[in-house]
Amino acid sequence: MSDRLLEIRNLQIDGESDEIWHEIIKGLDLDLDRGEVLGLIGESGAGKSTLGLAAMNFVRPGCRIRGGSIRFDDRELTEESDVALRKLRGVRIAYVAQSAAASFNPAHQLIDQFSEIPVVHGVKNRQDAETDAKDLYRRVLLPDPDGIGYRYPHQVSGGQLQRAMTAMALSCRPDLIIFDEPTTALDVTTQIEVLTTIRDIVREFNTAAIYISHDLAVVAQMADRIMVLRYGELVEEATTRKMMSDPQMDYTKSLWAVRSFKKETETGATERTPLVKVDNVTAGYGQEDVLKNVTFEIHRGQTLAVVGESGSGKSTAARVITGLLPPRLGDIHFNGKPLPKDYRSRNKDQLRHAQMIYQMADTALNPRQRIRSIIGRPLGFYLGLSGQKKENRIRELLSLIELEPDLYIDRYPDELSGGQKQRVSIARALAAEPEFIICDEVTSALDQLVAEGILRLLDRLQREFNLAYMFITHDLATVRAIADNVVVMLQGEIVEQGPKNEVFTPPHHKYTELLLSSVPEMDPDWLDELITHRQQHGAMDSTSTS
């Protein structure tokens, strides 16, 4: 039995759109030994998932393998029949998807779905499969390993589900597991646990793994070797340590440099009257209060970052400020004067001054309106512009967001990429000439390079128009880059707030400490050091999420 497990040579994969075949993978080679972890890094559309899936000779609908060889354990997969491939998939090569929630059948218990695989493939009988399941659940550190298998997917948290999926992938003791962005959808604190689990388990079972992600710091913790992909081609390949310390290609270097963007903090005095003041607000849906006694201020020309995990109440705070959710107690003040609590009671001017940019650019723009109408509507509605004046202003705004007016003005949103759509959302907000913009996780769904572009743009616009931003995010790296002041939220309450430097230097509130330490660093040893540190200080369980 040789050490070389997977050998891909000159793989070419095409994707079809509008009856034209485009090259997705343009002749890639990949080698993987037993027990080795390979990281695949790249932006969206680079071909990482396509390459990962190709390891089991699988392509998504609408794609085809045009050429190349895929040798798994000395078998040529491209020549195998469907029956043979089916015996391979799940048994010797397993796949862990990005969204655990979408991969589990909500109508079946977790343990049923686990047992299905070995039983169907004839590897174990039902009884043995269940015993094995419980053992694996224990090894992936799920709470109540003997009982948790009998729950349904909606009864466990996201992090727990992801770990259950990892356990399920191991059910037949595969030689290779493909992890496709497994922690992208999780909070930072949950991510730590899942990463540790994956790494330990892969080492313990000597399973080879392909770890796909766009988050470099995460991949640095997990992989022995890293391949950087771009537009279906290999940019650079090296061992992790070498690539971290000494990247060769310009593109690789640019990926590494992303986290270096920091805005220039102005040391000018802030005005005494805050632009927006959230005063002792308590709000909730129905009986439950989601925000409890929340007070903070936002000043003109400054950025307030509101940080917290899912369920902390950050987006609810935004809804209260915009008037979509009237608070049960407390007030919102704008420029010193109280705002009507319900947006329907506010006049046009009050509505104009506060604009919102959303996280998912796909749902933030009406797919049946051209860019011209999307940006033009606030111009006509708020400012009464029309005709040539309006057309000129639309072009001005497009230039402001760095999109060539002639090229983009007549397009529909589905003809733009994610980053471009987000820019259009920014232009739409700017068109109203507001004083205050709420950015609700605007870069969370974007790749790092693209996100950096958006942050730079927002920074420039802020200085040019003296805008105030409320930047909601769960990513502390972003906070470091763009915030002037920070509010840290946990379960509807503010645990810490103040100027950025104050919040980021110790001493902290315990939760802030947890958050800050959970952000992956670019150092390959970071995860090990963190775990040792936490074991020594006994702070391994995260507070709210799992």
Binding site: T322, G323, A364, P378
Partner: protein, 297 residues
């Protein structure tokens, strides 16, 4: 710098620019054979319905020959029980039945579609009340309800249209409400609300353009059901009244011919069947396209 990264797919390949009409024609050429059949059927029926008076040699109601004449040169499809030309009545029947069914469907869409839209946008009391009224109306079997209402209000054409439209509007309410709700929860709708947009704008510019696909499919299906309903009512004697030509009543009038092994009375029924089939094929294709499912390779 024109944006950070390339548009989806290979940025070097420029897609040929096409007008909407050209895209539509290309789509039709790519369609499966059943859809093409459907389009053909609709075009033929539409043509016949519009140009019936010009196409037919005889009049709709005049008695021009012996009763139950055989298929021959003078009367291509023979004559009916009173001596009127069968082919003429068949073509006029297209105009009457299809025409009335079309207007009824349009009216049903106006009533049901508008109410459904408003229910999705307003939610709350309006949605509840509208929903419950619709539930009650739908609880009564449609044909019987229609028969009852027509007996009460008489069987003139306007009454027929209004009764059937109201009953079918209930189904359209449900469909419209469901697809509108999908749109109303999205961010861009919230953004429009926050802007302060009025109801008219929200309905027409935000929601409606995004629900046209399922609504058009529903229009096709509803049309078929309305059509069948009218034919059924006419067959029972409470729909379109004689001497107006209508396929449903034509089946009834000439039914006795079956005992002689003549397929003439079935002709109107076949005409109904082909139209229903054609529209269904078209709607199937339409729904398949708009569902975005990709065919496996």
């Amino acid at each position: 710098m024109t944006g950070d990264e390339a548009t989806p797919l290979d940025p070097q390949v420029s897609r040929p620019k096409r007008t909407r009409l050209q895209s539509a024609l290309r789509e039709i050429l790519k369609a499966p054979i059943t859809a093409k059949f459907g389009i053909l059927v609709i075009l033929v029926y539409g043509f016949v319905a519009i140009f019936a008076p010009v196409l037919t040699p005889y009049s709709e109601t005049e008695i021009v020959g012996p009763e139950f004449d055989v298929w021959g040169e003078e009367f291509i499809l023979g004559t009916d029980g009173l001596g009127r030309d069968m082919l003429t009545r068949l073509l006029f029947g297209a105009r009457n039945t299809v025409g009335i069914a079309f207007f009824t469907t349009v009216l049903a869409f106006l009533i049901g579609g508008l109410t459904g839209l408003l229910a999705a946008i307003y939610s709350g009391w309006f949605d509840q009340i509208a929903g419950r009224v619709v539930d009650v109306l739908m609880a009564i079997p449609q044909l019987i309800f229609a028969l009852m209402l027509l007996t009460i209000f008489g069987t003139s054409i306007p009454t027929l249209i209004i009764v059937i439209a109201t009953l079918d509007a209930t189904r359209i309410f449900r469909v419209t409400r469901a697809v509108s709700l999908n749109v109303v929860v999205l961010d861009y709708f919230e953004a429009a609300r926050l802007r302060g947009e009025r109801l008219l704008w929200l309905c027409i510019r935000e929601v409606l353009p995004n629900i046209t696909a399922p609504l058009m499919a529903e229009f096709g299906l509803r049309f078929c059901f309305v059509f069948l309903m009218i034919a059924a009512l006419s067959f029972l004697g409470l729909g379109i009244q004689p001497p107006t030509a209508d396929w449903g009543s034509m089946v009834r009038e000439n039914a006795v011919l079956i005992t002689y092994g003549d397929i003439t009375p079935i002709l109107p029924a076949i005409a109904i069947a082909i139209l229903t089939l054609g529209v269904n094929f078209l709607v199937d294709w339409f729904l398949h396209k708009s569902s975005g499912l990709k065919d496996g390779h």
